[in-house]
């Protein structure tokens, strides 16, 4: 008999017998153990493949970054030219790392919040295997020169079909868990996760149809591409990250979210406004002005969910910020939550026509993407892994020093990269706007910033390899067996408020 086959009795019945020798607390503990046991293999598989893609994407990112200021680097190797390396890097990070880690976290959260075991987890493992097969074929196709040329959608249709089937298999399991949930209440995290699960097939399916099955003509293809890229960031990755933060922050500090009603307002306004964005990336392009203006307006209105989420997280954390010294999860998650606010404000700033005039088609938009996908999403996912993995493998993280090194390398790397690319983008935009300068001269001024970006990339590379090593120790069962977690500052343990 597998843990998934053990029928869990409803909470009311467990409460009725709480007076017996088995307390309700014991029952809850066993229930959680069964839930964790049922999700262990699939979630660890998603995490393991995510980390492998993270390492591969990081190496590709380094090559991409160095080639920006050393264009002759590996220039003689056709499949390592910049035009193939960059899309390979982006797709490895987006579909290999970000989707895998997001689904892994989402499945665990969904199972815990629905208080239900994951039935037939091996089918989910098969879904994960198919997903990674699709990503592998897609990356090979890009290196072989079979890219579609659409940003964030470079995988050819034969790889996209595999991804779509695999995704359907994976997410139907998560939705089934929600359908058969044992908890009467629905937590805000479940809202975000469920929405993300349903938004992805809409985004990916609609885009594939409009670009490859029944392709729209001309410049409309660019509109479809940017709508997809922007909404994949907001509606899928953003939803998973916000849902995770809404779980991790209250759970770690032991205080309910400041205002549940505010959280609901934030969710619905996010769903309403974020889906309108994307067209602001084509300011001054050959499109009807209303399309672009509608996206700019939606992005500005998206300040409502940003403010509600930011306020909610801040008020929840108020008085507990010192706990960030002790908890890896809290440290990464709060960094990501702050990055979300900065990311949103920066998005509004660079989308205003007066500002876009200078930073459009410059490195500033790359800064914006990295702040969103790395500073916000990836940091929250790192935090969730620090929380979830010990509960799956039954071991604690082995070295506090490696966690610290991971955090500071990633944080400084991300901040340095965003600053370098954003400032460099403004300089680049100023020079591009200067008619007295030739285009070649305008590219010279950006070089120091691109070198700075490569330095930040080295920091992030260190962070990723350190984390992969630490995760590998956990997978091999070499984590600490102590019942206490890995404190970041163990000597000051007594300062932790209870």
């Amino acid at each position: 008999m597998t843990p998934a086959e053990i029928p869990l009795i409803p909470p009311s019945e467990t409460a009725a017998i709480a007076g017996n020798e088995v307390t309700r607390g014991d029952v809850e503990q066993v229930e959680r153990a069964l839930i964790d046991a049922s999700t262990r293999v699939p979630v660890l598989m998603f995490y393991t493949s995510a980390i492998l893609w993270l390492l591969a994407g990081t190496v590709l990112a380094m090559l991409t970054s160095f080639k920006m200021h050393m264009p002759d680097l590996l220039g003689g190797v056709s499949f390592l030219t910049w035009g193939r390396l960059r899309p390979a890097h982006m797709n490895a990070m987006v579909y290999g790392w970000a989707v895998n880690v997001g689904i892994g976290t989402a499945i665990w959260l969904m199972a815990r919040l629905c208080r239900t075991t994951l039935r037939y987890p091996l089918l989910l493992v098969a879904g994960a295997a198919f997903w990674n097969l699709g990503v592998t074929i897609g990356i090979i196709a890009i290196f072989a020169g079979d890219s579609t040329g659409h940003q964030w959608l470079e995988f050819p249709p034969y790889a996209a079909v595999i991804l779509f089937v695999a995704y359907s298999l994976i997410v139907s399991w998560a939705i089934l868990m929600f359908r058969f949930r044992r908890s009467g209440h629905i937590y805000i995290t479940q809202w975000y996760l469920l929405a993300a699960f349903l938004w992805f097939p809409w985004l990916y399916g609609a885009t594939q149809i409009m670009l490859f099955v029944v392709p729209v003509q001309g410049v409309m293809q660019a509109a479809v591409t940017w709508w997809f890229a922007n909404n994949l960031m907001f509606l899928f990755f953003g939803s998973i990250a916000l849902g995770t933060a809404y779980y991790m922050i209250p759970k770690v500090i032991g205080r309910p979210v400041y205002s549940y009603h505010l959280a609901a307002i934030g969710f619905w306004t996010y769903a309403l406004f974020a889906s309108w964005t994307g067209m602001q990336r084509m300011i001054d392009g050959p499109f009807p002005a209303w399309m672009i203006t509608a996206s700019i307006a939606a992005l500005i209105l998206a300040i409502i969910p940003v403010a509600t989420v930011g306020l909610n997280h801040h008020m929840t954390m108020q008085g507990n910020f010192p706990l960030m010294r002790y908890s890896p999860t809290l440290r990464f998650t709060v960094f990501g939550a702050i990055a979300y606010t900065v990311f949103s404000l920066l998005g509004i700033l660079i989308s205003l026509r007066s500002m876009a005039r200078y930073v459009h088609f410059t490195q500033a938009s790359i800064a914006y993407s990295h702040l969103g996908l790395y500073g916000f999403y990836t940091m929250i996912m790192f935090g969730s892994m620090y929380y979830i993995v010990p509960r799956l493998v039954g071991r604690e993280w082995r070295y506090a020093s490696l966690i610290k090194l991971h955090f500071w390398s990633a944080a400084y790397g991300a901040m340095l990269m965003v600053v370098m690319l954003f400032v460099g983008g403004i300089v680049q935009g100023r020079d591009l706007d200067n008619t007295a300068l030739s285009f070649t001269e305008s590219t010279q001024s950006i070089l120091p910033y691109l070198r700075g970006r490569s330095i930040s990339g080295i920091l992030m590379t260190v962070a990723h390899f350190v984390f992969a090593f630490h995760f590998g120790l956990m997978l091999l069962g070499l984590g600490r067996t102590a019942t206490l977690p890995t404190f970041l500052n163990p000597k000051e343990e007594d300062l932790v408020p209870h």
């Binding site: 008999m1 843990p3 053990i6 029928p7 869990l8 009795i9 019945e13 467990t14 017998i17 017996n20 088995v22 307390t23 309700r24 607390g25 029952v27 809850e28 503990q29 066993v30 959680r32 153990a33 069964l34 046991a37 919040l113 908890s183 209440h185 629905i186 937590y187 805000i188 995290t189 779980y247 209250p250 759970k251 770690v252 500090i253 032991g254 205080r255 309910p256 979210v257 205002s259 549940y260 009603h261 959280a263 609901a264 507990n320 706990l323 002790y326 908890s327 890896p328 809290l330 620090y386 929380y387 010990p390 509960r391 039954g394 604690e396 019942t483 206490l484 977690p485 932790v496 209870h498």
Partner: protein
């Protein structure tokens, strides 16, 4: 399901924010700092079959 039921289910309560807490990770106790004793893993090591360990328990 009637609309009344639907609206009743959609009605929010600040209590909903507390459902992520339980007796082993209660409100007021930081969990990632003082992690719960994950004793079930040790229990499992001693008694490989979880189901058999529940024979005489409430799960029957």
């Amino acid at each position: 399901m009637s609309f009344a039921d639907l609206f009743a289910r959609m009605k929010l309560s600040e209590k909903d924010a507390e459902i992520i807490f339980d007796r082993h990770e209660p409100i007021g106790e930081p969990t990632d700092l003082v992690m719960p004793r994950r004793s079930w893993f040790r229990k499992k090591a001693q008694q490989p079959n979880v189901a058999s360990s529940l024979k005489h328990s409430i799960f029957r």
